[in-house]
Each structure stands twice: as structure tokens, then as C-alpha cells.
């Protein structure tokens, strides 16, 4: 049975809190700052929010339940997503269903994480049981080790070279500088990319994301409610998620996006060629290439050629990709990194004055990938968002 459409649901008030390299504040602080911005931007009062969804790695031992007390917020609906980089599109999907069912009226969806001197080391030492016991002892390299393997395998399988990944990283840096979100003050050159220090070969410095503290968020409500509040909103043309797809592949060269590519575009009524931008989850460049392949922007194994032939800049005439610079340039704010693409997509659709606005953008695709449990990430997600009336 085909999934029901996401009719009648509005996504509003995208919020991006500027990232910080380090913070001694708690994850709750960043979640509260995001909620504060959501209320300011929407003009709603805290008491108007009756649903709360949180994604965070550093909130523990607290949970979304603890946050209701921290915020002094009474809710009818709570959700906490343990899906890391897949959490943004999944948040849209879950919240939309709750709105359709009438379980909540206004849901605040927030990804928030802090980053102190020890949080990243602690996170990777205990990320999952398999990873802590059977990956971490091999040089305590965190996800870099697993993605070095995936990248090396992909390069051998499909003939991709480092410069192919470099093209994607260079374009994202340009986008980040235009968006005012770059951690780095200058554009990235191919020489700098190729000559960067090795981290876990074939990964070098600019293939890896920098941990930061920050938060992202948006509100989900009915279209009728958004109209009554006179809030600009985006519609959900389609959304999908999948977990532990293709688990018999020896090493991943594809993800769950491929499992629902057809049904996603079928529900949306538009195809990849009709997307005005693409926001992929870029924990490592190879994963962005896989998303381009598995979501139909190019054929399987042709990601390297695709990024060679296609302009990926926000202002180009190719496929504007990770238009705010992605995590590779802006940093990875933990699970908020899983919201970065969704929030940037919403800003592209709802904020005409965005400095990195893709000219004429009316719809776009966001995809996510998360949770490296052992030798690959298990969660994949995607959502197609549009301005009203663009389906």
C-alpha cells in the first residue's frame, strides 16, 4: 500500500543558530535558544506549542521529557529521534503525521548539541555497543576509520579520485562563504584540499567535519493554522525513511534512498530533474555522491563524473547543492547536523532575502544519513519540500 500524502501540513519558521567551535553550555541551552528563536520568528507563545521533537547526542542523561520541565512547557506529543544525520527529514515526516492525525497543533522540531573539549571523544568512545567494542580499539579514530574504509572501497569500485571529492568540498566552501556560515575565512583551493594533512587515508582534513555546538529547528503545523497566523510556509511533497537497508552489501556503495527513490518521486509528482536544489548529508563527501546516485541525479557509480560535470554552487546553473556550505564548511553540530539541510532548504523556500538564495527556487530535496553503528550508517531519510502550490 502506498504511503498517504502529507497534505495539509505546513513547515514554518526555520531557525539556524550560528555555530560555535566550543561551548561550556549544555545541549539543553542550545535547544532552549532554538525554541526561543522559533517563538520569536513565528510570534507564537510558548503555551501555543504542544508538541516537541528533539534530536541530540549530548543531551543525555536528559531526554525530550526532561526538556519539557527545563522549558516549563506542557506538551501533548513528544518525540526523540536517535537517528543523527537522518533526523531532519525524519522529524518533518513524524511531526507531519502527528499534525495530520490531530495529535498536536504546533510541533517544535529541534536538533541541538553542545561541544566541549571532551564531548566528541566521549561520544565516539561510546557511540554504540558494536562500535565501542569492535571498532574503537582499532586506533580510536571514530567514524573517520569507518568512512575511510567506505571511501577507499568506493574509489576502487568506481574509479573516483580525491579531486572528485575535492570539487564538492570547494563548491561547498564557496556556498558557506556566501551564506556567512563558513568556519573558515577563505575559499578552499584544490591545492589546499589535496595537500591537507591525512586523517585516515584516503580521508584528509577537508573530507572531515569539524565538531561544533549549535542548534537548528522549525515548526510543523497545519496549513490552515499557518495561514491564520500569516506565516510563510513550505509544503511536504513527499518524505521517506529506511533503516539497515542492503545490509548484506559487504561495504556500502548505496544507502536506503535507493529503496524508496521511486515511491518518493511518485508521491511528490516530480522527479530529480525538477529540483531547484539538493541538500545532502555530507558527513563525508563520498556519502553525498551516494545520495546523488541513489536519489536519481545520476546513475550508480557515476557520482564522481556528475560532480565533475555539474556546477554545485548556489549561484550556478547546475544543481545548487548544500547551499549553506553543509557540515564540511559550517561544522557538525552533532545531531543538529542532521537538521542542517532541512533548515537550509526551508530558508531557501521561505526567506527571499537570503544572501545565498538560489534564484527562483520553489522546491528542493533534502536527504539524510545517520548512525554509524558498526561498519556503516544505518538510517537514511529524504524529504521534498516546496513553496505552496508547486506540486
Amino acid at each position: 500500500m502506498a504511503a498517504q500524502a502529507y497534505e495539509g501540513v505546513a513547515v514554518v519558521a526555520p531557525v539556524h543558530l550560528p555555530y560555535r567551535r566550543r561551548s561550556d553550555k549544555s545541549a539543553a541551552y542550545f535547544a532552549a535558544a532554538a525554541l526561543h528563536s522559533l517563538l520569536q520568528q513565528s510570534g507564537l507563545a510558548k503555551a501555543d506549542v504542544d508538541g516537541l521533537l528533539i534530536a541530540s547526542f549530548t543531551l543525555a542523561p536528559d531526554t525530550v521529557v526532561s526538556l519539557t520541565e527545563y522549558f516549563s512547557l506542557t506538551a501533548n506529543w513528544l518525540e526523540q529521534l536517535p537517528m543523527g544525520g537522518a533526523s531532519g527529514p525524519v522529524a518533518v515526516k513524524r511531526a507531519a503525521r502527528a499534525i495530520q492525525a490531530g495529535d498536536a497543533e504546533v510541533i517544535a522540531c529541534i536538533g541541538a548539541d553542545t561541544a566541549d573539549a571532551h564531548s566528541f571523544a566521549q561520544l565516539i568512545a561510546n557511540f554504540s555497543r558494536f562500535s565501542a567494542e569492535a571498532v574503537y580499539p582499532c586506533a580510536a579514530a571514530g567514524p573517520n576509520l569507518v568512512f575511510a574504509m567506505i571511501t577507499q572501497h568506493y574509489m576502487e569500485q568506481y574509479g573516483a579520485v580525491r579531486a572528485d571529492f575535492g570539487r564538492l568540498c570547494l563548491a561547498q566552501r564557496t556556498n558557506a562563504l556566501a551564506a556567512g556560515m563558513s568556519l573558515f575565512p577563505e575559499p578552499l583551493t584544490m591545492d589546499a584540499y589535496l595537500n591537507a594533512r591525512p586523517i585516515a587515508e584516503p580521508l584528509h582534513l577537508f573530507d572531515c567535519v569539524m565538531p561544533v555546538a549549535g542548534a537548528e529547528g522549525f515548526l510543523v503545523m497545519s496549513i490552515a493554522h499557518a495561514r491564520a497566523l500569516q506565516l510563510p510556509y513550505a509544503e511536504i511533497l513527499a518524505a521517506a525513511e529506511n533503516h539497515n537497508a542492503f545490509c548484506d552489501d559487504p561495504l556500502p556503495v548505496r544507502g536506503g534512498w535507493l529503496a524508496y527513490q521511486d515511491s518518493l518521486y511518485q508521491m511528490a509528482g516530480v522527479g530529480p530533474g525538477e529540483m531547484d536544489f539538493l541538500q545532502t548529508y555530507d558527513d563525508y563527501p563520498v556519502i553525498s555522491l551516494m545520495q546523488m546516485e541513489n536519489l536519481g541525479f545520476c546513475e550508480a557509480g557515476r557520482g564522481a563524473e556528475f560532480v565533475k560535470e555539474t556546477a554545485l554552487l548556489w549561484c550556478g546553473d547546475g544543481l545548487p547543492h548544500n547551499t549553506s556550505g553543509g557540515q564540511l564548511s559550517a561544522g557538525q553540530a552533532g545531531a543538529a547536523g542532521g537538521f542542517l539541510g532541512t533548515v537550509e532548504a526551508l530558508r531557501q523556500l521561505l526567506e527571499p532575502d537570503l544572501p545565498n538564495r538560489v534564484a527562483g527556487a520553489t522546491r528542493g530535496l533534502v536527504s539524510g544519513y545517520g548512525m554509524v553503528n558498526y561498519d556503516r550508517c544505518l538510517c537514511s531519510s529524504a524529504v521534498i519540500l516546496s513553496q505552496p502550490g508547486q506540486s
Binding site: A125, V135, C138, A141, P202
Partner: protein, 147 residues
């Protein structure tokens, strides 16, 4: 010189450690369906049975992917980098990560996986192209892991 900080492992690893002391690789095998399990767990990954027994398994496999690791969150590993690590698919069907010798840094290389006990009394896997652990490889792992 920095000390290696111990990692967290469940009691299952005691069985792998005991196997290593006997010179072989012991992993869990499912009694009903015979599937070999790794990383250690409480239920079979295929049939979900909890009847898993520790048995010697064939330690031969193939390098699926590899990396020279330069960056680590542990000072100990940073001081002695780079480390050669491979993703190895054992013939018995499971995937494990192991330290490898330089000559194993090629996809498709046939390797033997040796569980060795470091000075923290922890098991680490070392893979080589030959049966029996060459002294240099053993020293590389165990001597460096002297606490």
C-alpha cells in the same frame, strides 16, 4: 609517553581472550543455524536464537578495505601513528577490523586474523598474510600497548 586508555567491553570478550591464549580465534556460533557472530552479542543475527556457543572458527579472510590512520582521540595512538587498519571479511561470514601489516594494505589480500593479548590484558586483532604472528607485528601491537 601516553598510556593507552582502556576501552569498554562486555564480558563476552573474555571468551575471545581465552581463545587467544590458546592461539586461535574463538567466536560465537549459533547452535540452530550455525551462523558465526561478530561483534559479540546475545542473540543470533539470523535466527535470533540465544543458543550461541563459543567455538574456534577459521581465521582466514580477505581485506575488503584499508586505511592508514593518522588521527585519533587517544594521545597514545597519535604518538605512534600511522596505524594500518583493515576491514576484513572472514570466510566464515563476519566482518572485523584489525591492525594489519604494511603488506596487507591492498584490497583482496588473503589474511589470517590473530587475536593477541596486549599488556592491558585486552584482545586486539592483528592480521597478516601468513599463519602465525611474525614477531615484528606482535611487538608493534603489544610492545606499544605496554601501559
Amino acid at each position: 609517553m601516553s598510556r593507552l586508555v582502556r576501552w569498554q567491553r562486555s564480558g563476552h570478550w573474555q571468551h575471545i581472550r581465552q581463545g587467544a591464549a590458546g592461539g586461535g580465534l574463538c567466536l560465537q556460533v549459533c547452535e540452530p543455524c550455525q551462523a558465526v557472530q561478530y561483534p559479540p552479542r546475545d542473540n543470533c543475527r539470523q535466527c535470533l536464537s540465544d543458543k550461541l556457543t563459543w567455538q574456534p572458527v577459521c581465521a582466514e579472510g580477505v581485506v575488503m578495505a584499508w586505511s592508514r590512520v593518522h588521527a585519533s582521540t587517544q594521545a597514545f595512538f597519535r604518538e605512534h601513528a600511522p596505524w594500518h587498519v583493515a576491514n576484513i571479511r572472514l570466510d566464515c561470514g563476519v566482518v572485523l577490523y584489525a591492525f594489519v601489516s604494511e603488506r596487507c594494505l591492498q584490497t583482496g589480500t588473503r589474511v589470517y586474523v590473530h587475536p593477541v593479548i596486549d599488556s592491558n590484558d585486552e584482545v586486539v586483532f592483528v592480521a597478516t598474510t601468513v599463519a602465525g604472528v611474525p614477531a615484528t607485528e606482535y611487538e608493534r601491537i603489544t610492545a606499544l600497548t605496554e601501559g
